[in-house]
């Protein structure tokens, strides 16, 4: 860990994490809890009950004005014009050459107000990119510092929220929709979204109320705090990409096998180059893999098939649900076949694995 701890940002919940016995680690410029009691226990708790995650490090941008919808439509790859207010959608910010600047979720708050939720490590470059591409008629503001974000994820998350908000309110929020609610006098944007594959919610609200809502939610016996370690293994089991590992500016959404989040029937930044690259043909594609045993490959392991290097591992970990090594890798497209045998190697260890299309973990 080369990052100097004193230079790291902390979330409003830093002291709560220390009180809960968290192990803190640097993560993209932030001092964040990687685990409280153990990654495997926290992972399985989220799959069976409800996990509470401090996600205050992520960025929240707002675009406001009568042309905000058109501006967002041009900036991101997903379709915007058919979104009702209260809907959210996953998409990408692309460079002109089609490389992924970031993956994000667009929230349509009203026809004249949109929120973009972006990765913590990319807040500054995203902000500069958007500021230089948004026209003067639209007001852009980075409100990451004033906003807190807590994720409550797991099969009992709706039950817990129902006790606070009432069942009908919680049930009215469908997947990939959101609603404004009031919790203990705090105005919260509650969205049914997440990064775990479980039914779950993300709560956005003013940063100064973070400790209060954290305490209120963690008081429920179904709820346990969960660190970034389990957040990573949970997303990996689902095959969700992590920006900076599995997707970056050198990759396009097509190579990442995420073309369903690119709406080619509209104009957006990067579209022309994406079309050209598509015509040339996509050679490599992102896929999941499952190892034969408990040992997992890690980032940058080479993927071999019949003694030929066919790609590279971009994420790898032990899967607490499958009790095997799993991960994501880019491989030659002709090898993208379910069950294809591959060997993952760092030059020393050779780990036998098989291609698994996402989700890697299926119930």
């Amino acid at each position: 860990m080369s990052e100097n701890v004193v230079d790291l940002n902390v979330t409003p919940l830093y002291n709560k994490h220390l009180e809960a016995g968290a192990r803190m680690v640097p993560f993209s410029g932030w001092n964040m809890p990687v685990q409280y009691t153990g990654i495997i226990e926290e992972h399985l708790h989220t799959r069976s009950r409800a996990g509470l995650f401090d996600i205050c490090h992520m960025g929240e941008f707002f675009l406001r004005g009568s042309s905000a919808g058109e501006e967002v439509d041009r900036l991101v790859t997903c379709r915007i014009d058919d979104m009702p207010a209260g809907k959210c959608r996953y998409g990408f910010l692309l460079r002109e050459d089609g490389g992924i600047i970031d993956d994000l979720i667009v929230f349509k708050i009203s026809p004249e107000e949109f929120m973009l939720v972006v990765n913590s490590g990319t807040v500054e470059k995203d902000r500069k990119w958007i500021e230089s591409h948004v026209s003067s008629g639209t007001e852009f503001s980075d409100e990451s510092d004033r906003m807190a974000k807590l994720d409550l994820q797991g099969p009992l998350s709706a039950e817990v929220l129902s006790r606070i908000l009432g069942r009908s309110t919680v049930e009215s929020v469908r997947r990939y929709y959101f609603a404004g609610v009031v919790m203990e006098g705090v105005k919260v944007l509650l969205s049914r979204t997440g990064y775990t594959g479980e039914q779950g919610y993300e709560l956005f609200f003013p940063a100064e109320r973070a400790a209060m809502l954290w305490d209120m939610l963690s008081a429920y016996k179904e709820v346990k705090p969960v660190g970034l370690g389990a957040r990573d293994t949970l997303r990996m089991e689902m095959g969700y990409s992590l920006y900076g590992n599995d997707i970056d500016e050198d990759r396009t959404p097509f190579e990442a096998n995420l073309s369903k989040f690119v709406f080619m029937e509209k104009d957006f930044i990067g579209k022309e180059e994406l079309l050209k690259r598509k015509e040339k043909g996509i050679n490599r594609i992102l896929t999941g893999f499952i190892c034969e045993g408990r040992r997992s490959a890690r980032s940058h392991f080479t993927v071999m098939c019949d003694d030929r290097a066919i790609g590279e591992v971009t994420s790898g970990a032990f899967s607490p649900c499958l009790k095997k090594g799993i991960g994501l890798c880019y491989i030659d497209k002709e090898c993208f076949i379910e069950g294809q045998g591959i060997l993952l190697s760092d030059g020393k260890a050779g780990i036998r694995a098989a291609v698994k299309k996402i989700p890697i973990y299926e119930r």
């Binding site: 192990r23 685990q35 153990g38 990654i39 495997i40 226990e41 370690g229 990573d232 293994t233 045993g293 408990r294 040992r295 997992s296 890690r298 970990a317 032990f318 607490p320 090594g325 260890a349």
Partner: protein, 125 residues
């Protein structure tokens, strides 16, 4: 938790001397730093290992790390149960989580290791 009768390395391995033989493992501090241990690559019985040689690899959920020989010797037994329950190294690093037993090649090498008190101070540094 640093048992008094063992000797320790700076890489957080322990060694328990039993006559001409010794049992090796990783310390409570090491298992705590690693977090949930998910896999160990054990050495083959019969293999000769030299002091400071990497003779086993331990993986936790998120990372892999090497285990080094506190002294030179020959592996006479390994703890095969760790292949199915590597978490024993978390639960009982000085007991069920032992890694292997060696016959000691050069007892003189033991003099360079830390005793419990020295290791405890080393952890506080």
């Amino acid at each position: 938790m640093v048992p008094g009768e063992l000797k320790y390395t700076k890489e957080h391995e322990w060694i328990k001397i039993e006559g001409d033989e010794a049992v090796l493992g990783i310390t409570d501090h090491a298992q705590s730093e690693l977090g949930d241990i998910t896999f160990i690559e054990l050495p083959e019985p019969g293999r000769e290992i030299r002091q400071s040689e990497n003779f086993a690899t331990i993986e936790s959920v998120k990372a892999a790390s090497d285990v080094y020989a506190p002294v030179s010797g020959k592996i006479v037994a390994v703890n095969d149960s760790l292949q199915d329950t590597p978490e024993a190294m978390n639960r009982s690093p000085y007991g069920d989580g032992w890694i292997c037993r060696i016959s000691i090649a050069d007892a003189g090498e033991l003099d360079g290791l830390m005793d419990a008190g020295t290791y405890e101070n080393y952890l506080k540094e």
